[in-house]
C-alpha cells in the first residue's frame, strides 16, 4: 500500500450490502410477475399502458431530475405502478401524461427522491382520474381474441377515441356497489375479473410482496395492518347485511387493495419511519378504504385512502417517536 492509496474515512468501516438502488431495483423486479399476470388477463394492451406510463415517468425524471437519477430505479417503480393501476384500454398518451405528472408534480417539485409527501404513482393516477374520468373507468370486457387490444391504446392525444370494439364490463366493486351483485371469491383471488391491470392478481402480489418483506425491503406491518383493519371492518358490515356489503375476503381481494397495500402504502418515502406508526398508517388506510367503498360516491377508495394517510405521515411520525433508552418514567 502506497501513501497515495491509503484511505482515512470515518467509522463505521463496514456497511450492509443493501443500497437504495438495490432496494428500488428489487421492488421493480418483483413487479415483473404482476405485470406478467396483467398481460395474461389483458393481452398486449397491458404492456402498452405500462410502457406508456413508464416512458412518461422516465423521460420526466431524465429531463428535469438530477443527473444520474434514473440509476436509483425509483422512477421505474413509479412508472410501473402507475401503469398497473390504470385500465387496459386507456390510450397510451394518457398513461404517458400520467407518468410525467407522477414524477414531475408528484416527486420533483418536492425536491426529488425522498422529499415527496404523496406516493407519486397514486398522485399521477388521481390526476388522470380527474382529467379523464370516463377513460379511467372504462373497463374492457372479455375480448374475442387474446391478442386483441382492449381499447384504443393508440388514440392520438386530445382526439376522441374511436368507439371501442369491445363491450365494456364492470368491476366486482362496481357490481357490488351499484347492483348489489357479488363476484365469487375464487375469481377475485386468481384475478379473473374486470378492473385495472394490477387489480386482478391478488395472489401474485401477495407472493411478490412476501419476497420483499423477507428481504426487509418493505415493512410488512403496513399491509398486515391494512388487511386487518379492512378485513375486520368489512366483516362487521357483512354481518349486518350480507347482501349489501362485501365479506372480508372479497374486500381484500377486490379492487386495488392488494396492490395498494403491498406496493403503494409501503412506499418507504411516504410511509412512517416508526413501526408503531406503520401500524397506525395501515389501519387508517384499511378503514378509509372500507368507508369510501361503502359510503363514498366511488366504487373504489384505495387511492384516496393512501393519499389521505400519506398526508398524515409527518404527524404519525411525530406522535410515535420511540422512547429513548433510559427515559422510562419508572427509572429513578
Amino acid at each position: 500500500m502506497t501513501e497515495r492509496q491509503r484511505l482515512v474515512t470515518a467509522s463505521p468501516h463496514l456497511a450492509t450490502s443493501h443500497s437504495t438502488p438495490a432496494i428500488m431495483w428489487s421492488v421493480a423486479a418483483s413487479l415483473v410477475p404482476v405485470i406478467a399476470t396483467a398481460t395474461y388477463y389483458f393481452g398486449p394492451s397491458a404492456l402498452l399502458v405500462i410502457a406508456g406510463a413508464s416512458a412518461g415517468a422516465l423521460l420526466t425524471e431524465r429531463a428535469f431530475g438530477p443527473g444520474g437519477a434514473l440509476r436509483d430505479g425509483s422512477a421505474v417503480i413509479t412508472g410501473l405502478l402507475l401503469g398497473l393501476c390504470l385500465p387496459a384500454g386507456l390510450p397510451m398518451w394518457m398513461a404517458f401524461l400520467g407518468g410525467g405528472f407522477s414524477i414531475g408534480i408528484g416527486k420533483l417539485v418536492f425536491g426529488g427522491l425522498g422529499q415527496n409527501v404523496f406516493n407519486p404513482a397514486l398522485l399521477g393516477r388521481a390526476f388522470l382520474q380527474a382529467a379523464f374520468p370516463v377513460a379511467l373507468t372504462t373497463w374492457p370486457a372479455q375480448p374475442t381474441h387474446w391478442a386483441a387490444l382492449r381499447g384504443d391504446n393508440f388514440a392520438l392525444p386530445l382526439m376522441s377515441a374511436r368507439a371501442p370494439d369491445v363491450v365494456t364490463g364492470a368491476t366486482p366493486l362496481g357490481l357490488m356497489k351499484f347492483e348489489h351483485q357479488a363476484t365469487d371469491l375464487w375469481s377475485l383471488v386468481i384475478g379473473r375479473t374486470g378492473g385495472s391491470l394490477g387489480e386482478t392478481a391478488g395472489i401474485v402480489i401477495l407472493i411478490c410482496g412476501g419476497y420483499l418483506a423477507l428481504r426487509n425491503y418493505l415493512n410488512w406491518r403496513i399491509p398486515a395492518a391494512v388487511f386487518l383493519a379492512a378485513g375486520l371492518a368489512a366483516a362487521g358490515l357483512h354481518a349486518l347485511d350480507p347482501a349489501r356489503y362485501a365479506g372480508p375476503l372479497e374486500t381484500l381481494f377486490s379492487g386495488g387493495l392488494m396492490l395498494g397495500a403491498v406496493y403503494m402504502a409501503t412506499d418507504m418515502v411516504t410511509s412512517p419511519v416508526t413501526n408503531r406508526g406503520s401500524w397506525i398508517f395501515g389501519v387508517g388506510i384499511g378503514l378509509l378504504v372500507v368507508i369510501i367503498r361503502t359510503w363514498g360516491g366511488l366504487a373504489e377508495g384505495v387511492m384516496y385512502a393512501i393519499l389521505l394517510m400519506n398526508a398524515l405521515v409527518p404527524f404519525i411520525n411525530r406522535a410515535t417517536q420511540p422512547r429513548v433508552f433510559g427515559t422510562r418514567s419508572a427509572a429513578t
Binding site: 500500500m1 467509522s11 436509483d72 425522498g114 422529499q115 420511540p322 433510559g326
Partner: protein, 444 residues
C-alpha cells in the same frame, strides 16, 4: 421478568459479520522491543498526565515518566528502558498531534524491570488496593480508557451491588478479550476478586458473547467456589459490549439517560482491564504493555500480540509480516467504531484494542443517496433514537433541536450508518454535531 433477562440481550442493534476467524485461534505472542517508543500524555479519559522526566534522562522499564494530574487522570510509565529524547507534539491516534514523551529504546537491553516490591494484595485494604491500581496507571482497555481507580471508588452515596465484567468483544475482527479469557482465565478471575474487594460487592457477572465458546468454557472452568461469579452466554449482536446495553442484557436494568451505570448499582469493567488489575498485583508491572489484535485481510500474519505501550504502528505491522498489496485502510479499534490512521508513526496507546488493516475490497467507495425514510436506522439504534430525524437536523445545522432529540444519548456505535441503504454518514454527522454542541456550550 423482562424480555432482556430471558434472552440475555438488548433490543435493536445489528449483526455485522464477526470476521474473528483470522486471529481468533492465534495464541498471544510477544513482539520484539521497537527502537523508539512514543508515550502520549493523554492516553486516558480525563486530564492528561504531567511529565516528570526531561529530555536526556535515562529511564528503566516500568519507571513513571508522567504523573496523574487530578483524580480523573492516570500516570504513564516507560514501556522500555532507554533515553528520553524529546517531549514534543507527536502523532496521536485521534488524528491530532499531542504532547508525548519520545524514548529511544536501548538496543540489547535485557529490559528487566527495576526490582520492585510486589504488594501482597490479600493484606491490603480497599483504599490501598485502589491506590496501587492508580499508581499502576490502569485504565479501561476496552477503548474508552477511563481511569480504573475512579470506577473502583464510587461516590459514597452510590450503592453498588453488582460488578459486570464485559467479555463481549462485539466489534468484528477483534480477539484481544477472547484470547485473554482463553489463555489467562485465572488472571481474569483474580482481577474480578480484587475488584469485588475494592467495591465491596458480593456478586459479579461475566457476560461473553456465544461466538466464543472456548472463552466461556475456560472462564467457567476457572470459577472459584468461594465467590458469587456467574458467566452468562450472551446473544451475538452489536453493540452487546456497550456498557448500557450490557447492563440491560445481563441484569435487565436500564441506565437512565445521562446517568452512569453506578446509578443502577453497577460497575462495568472490560475483561482485559480486569486482567491488568490482577497483573499489577501478580508481577508489580504497571500498565506498560497490552494485548493488541492485529488483523484484517490487508495484513500478512494476523495475530494477538503483547505490545509495549507507545510502539509505533509501523513497528507493530512489521512484527506481523507487514501489509500486503490489497491493504487500503488502517483502523485503530474495531471496524464499527475504530479510527482510521493517516500516519504510520502513531503510537499504540493503552486504549488501542486492535489494529485492523482493511483490504481494498472491504473499503470500496460507496455513493450516497438521498434518505428514503426506510426507517432501518430506527430499527437498528440500540438507544432508540431517531437517526433519520437527527441526520436531517445535522445537515441543516439545527444543533439545538438535536440536543432536544437526545443527541447526547448517541454513543456513536455506528449501527445507523451500518444499515443505511443510502450510505448517509449518520455516525460521522452525529460526532461532528456533538463537537458543535460542545463549542456552542463553551461559547455561551
Amino acid at each position: 421478568l423482562s424480555l432482556a433477562l430471558r434472552w440475555h440481550s438488548f433490543r435493536h442493534g445489528v449483526h455485522p459479520p464477526d470476521l474473528k476467524a483470522l486471529s481468533g485461534a492465534a495464541p498471544i505472542r510477544r513482539m520484539p522491543f521497537p527502537s523508539e517508543i512514543i508515550l502520549p500524555l493523554r492516553q486516558h479519559a480525563g486530564q492528561p498526565a504531567r511529565p516528570v522526566v526531561r529530555p536526556g534522562d535515562r529511564v528503566e522499564r516500568g519507571d513513571t515518566v508522567a504523573e496523574a494530574q487530578g483524580h480523573v487522570s492516570a500516570p504513564v510509565h516507560a514501556s522500555a528502558a532507554g533515553r528520553v529524547t524529546a517531549i514534543e507534539l507527536c502523532p496521536h491516534p485521534d488524528g491530532s498531534f499531542a504532547p508525548a514523551i519520545r524514548i529511544a529504546v536501548e538496543p540489547h537491553s535485557p529490559q528487566a524491570l527495576r526490582p520492585r516490591i510486589i504488594p501482597e494484595w490479600e493484606g491490603l485494604s480497599p483504599e490501598q488496593l485502589i491506590a496501587a491500581v492508580k499508581d499502576g496507571g490502569v485504565v479501561g482497555l476496552g477503548g474508552a480508557a477511563f481511569p480504573t481507580h475512579v470506577k473502583l471508588a464510587p461516590p459514597p452515596d452510590a450503592r453498588i451491588d453488582t460488578l459486570v465484567i464485559n467479555g463481549c468483544e462485539c466489534e468484528p475482527y477483534l480477539t484481544t478479550d477472547h484470547r485473554t479469557m482463553v489463555e489467562y482465565p485465572d488472571r481474569v478471575l483474580l482481577g474480578v476478586r480484587i475488584m469485588m474487594r475494592c467495591l465491596g460487592v458480593e456478586r459479579a457477572v461475566i457476560g461473553i458473547e456465544r461466538n466464543k465458546p472456548d472463552a466461556i468454557a475456560a472462564i467457567r472452568a476457572a470459577l472459584p467456589a468461594d465467590l458469587d461469579v456467574e458467566v452468562l452466554a450472551l446473544r451475538v449482536k452489536y453493540p452487546q459490549g456497550a456498557e448500557k446495553m450490557l447492563i440491560e442484557s445481563v441484569l435487565g436494568r436500564e441506565v437512565p439517560s445521562g446517568r452512569l451505570p453506578l446509578h443502577v448499582g453497577v460497575v462495568v469493567q472490560n475483561v482485559a482491564s480486569v486482567a491488568t488489575i490482577a497483573e499489577v498485583f501478580e508481577t508489580g508491572l504497571p500498565l506498560i504493555e497490552r494485548i493488541v489484535t492485529v488483523t484484517g485481510l490487508g495484513v500478512r500474519q494476523p495475530g494477538n500480540l503483547i505490545v509495549p505501550v507507545g510502539t509505533k504502528l509501523r513497528d507493530l505491522l512489521d512484527a506481523c509480516g507487514g501489509m500486503n498489496e490489497s491493504a487500503r485502510e488502517i483502523v485503530f479499534g474495531g471496524p464499527m467504531m475504530g479510527v482510521a490512521q493517516a500516519d504510520l508513526d502513531v503510537p499504540i496507546t493503552k486504549g488501542t484494542t486492535g489494529v485492523v488493516v482493511l483490504a481494498a475490497e472491504e473499503c470500496k467507495p460507496q455513493a450516497s443517496y438521498p434518505c428514503i425514510r426506510c426507517g432501518h436506522c430506527l430499527d437498528a439504534c440500540p438507544v432508540f433514537l431517531n437517526p433519520q430525524l437527527l441526520g436531517t437536523l445535522a445537515r441543516a445545522g439545527r444543533y439545538e433541536e438535536m440536543v432536544g432529540s437526545h443527541l447526547a444519548d448517541c454513543m456513536l456505535c455506528g449501527c445507523c450508518s451500518y444499515v443505511c441503504p443510502s450510505n448517509i454518514p449518520l455516525s460521522q454527522l452525529f460526532a461532528a454535531s456533538k463537537a458543535q454542541v460542545r463549542k456552542l456550550a463553551v461559547a455561551r
